[in-house]
Symmetry: C2
Subunit: 223 residues, 2 copies
DNA sequence: ACCTGAACACCGTTCAAGT
DNA sequence: ACCTGAACACCGTTCAAGT
């Protein structure tokens, strides 16, 4: 993200969890998930790889902290006093955009549930549900439907990003996926053939929002 | 001629992709995701680790094939001529149960979109949407809302299974998650505090189905 | 208390060599 | 064509030793 200037040979400050996480995010953002190893992280921090373990339990905690950092920042922007449905859409869209920009966050969210980041998302989404007329008893499962949908899209998008060629354009990628759908036997996969064109054409962000709206429409039904 | 003939345990049959995948599934099921390595797989198959690469491109393909095998089997059971909503619920529940029994399938589905298994799910779900009165133009995104929700739950459940202690009971695990929610500041996380009890009490399967019903209710809105 | 970096116990994958 | 298994190029993590 933020381009850093020339790096002196001396560490600016002592090692800390925050500095480690910041550097990890930087590597993740610029070089991708597979580039983050304790060796390159240590080199970038000008320390030994073992030093990192003084501040962070293991790689899982590091990844969780990195994802949480990003999500916390995204959710920090105030939604104002928009009406509940609009606020939920805005929050969801913010998460989508963050994941779209950083696929590694999607990977992380898709597979770490106890995580603080997921709790943050539940809080921001769930907090608006009452305003939507959701009865007290249904609050948790209504929130869970929205959150699981968001996390599902997050995981799929991250995987897509991992699959796509770094430079390649998106419509070519979608065309390739659509082609795999249509190369199946139409007798076994009639639906796949029927919607392949829609798959090839669709806009991810728009489709994501449409899904949110669908769940919201269902939730309104609960009132 | 060096008498090297003490191959007492002669293999029952030649190596094949199917036999490799079957053995991988066996290891995944009994020993878990982390136990599947090319070394133990080769040992179990009484061959060299390099031999596997003659039949399978890499570990990613192996995992994808294993997950696809399971999903194909799950989707093979006929739903009969139930009405569309009931059929979709049945299909979704079948997938949920399969993932609950084999968390590694959830991990795999949550992060491999181009996969045949995901296409199969789209087909089975999507094929019933028309009967629900979904207009042609909305078929793909309606299916995608359902599938992404399912895959989101799949990923979270798999991650939960990875986190939980193998022998530990489920209510203790949920209580621990709920405790992490309530240990946050109530001023920052009012929703978390409010629904922590629901989180601790809920039944995963029931909650999953409730989410499906919510999306279905939203989809009915499109008619 | 915090850091160093070699060492340990693994991985997935390749490939010359065999049949 | 198919299989073998040693070798390669990595990993995350530990830990005795330093400051």
């Amino acid at each position: 993200m933020a381009t850093r200037g020339q790096r002196t040979n001396r560490r600016a400050d002592a090692l800390s969890k925050q500095r480690i996480v910041d550097t990890a995010v930087e590597i993740l953002d610029t070089e991708g998930e597979s580039a983050l190893t304790f060796r390159v992280l240590a080199a970038r921090l000008e320390t030994g790889s073992g030093a990192i373990y003084w501040h962070v339990a293991d790689k899982g905690e590091l990844l969780a902290a990195a994802a949480d950092d990003v999500i916390a920042r995204v959710l920090a922007v105030p939604v104002g006093d928009a009406e509940p449905a609009a606020a939920i859409r805005a929050v969801a869209l913010g998460i989508f955009d963050a994941i779209d920009a950083r696929p590694w966050v999607g990977t992380q969210l898709g597979q770490a549930p106890g995580q603080l980041a997921v709790l943050r998302i539940y809080e921001r989404i769930g907090g608006r549900l009452e305003g939507l007329g959701v009865p007290e008893k249904a609050l948790f499962f209504a929130a869970s439907a929205l959150v699981n949908y968001i996390l599902g899209v997050a995981g799929q998008n991250a995987a897509n990003a991992r699959l796509a060629v770094p430079g390649g354009d998106r419509s070519a990628f979608l065309a390739a996926v659509a082609a795999r759908w249509t190369e199946q036997d139409p007798a076994d996969y009639p639906f796949a053939h029927r919607v392949a064109a829609q798959l090839a054409d669709h806009d991810d962000r728009e489709q994501f929002l449409a899904g949110i709206d669908l769940v919201l429409a269902g939730i309104t039904t609960l009132g």
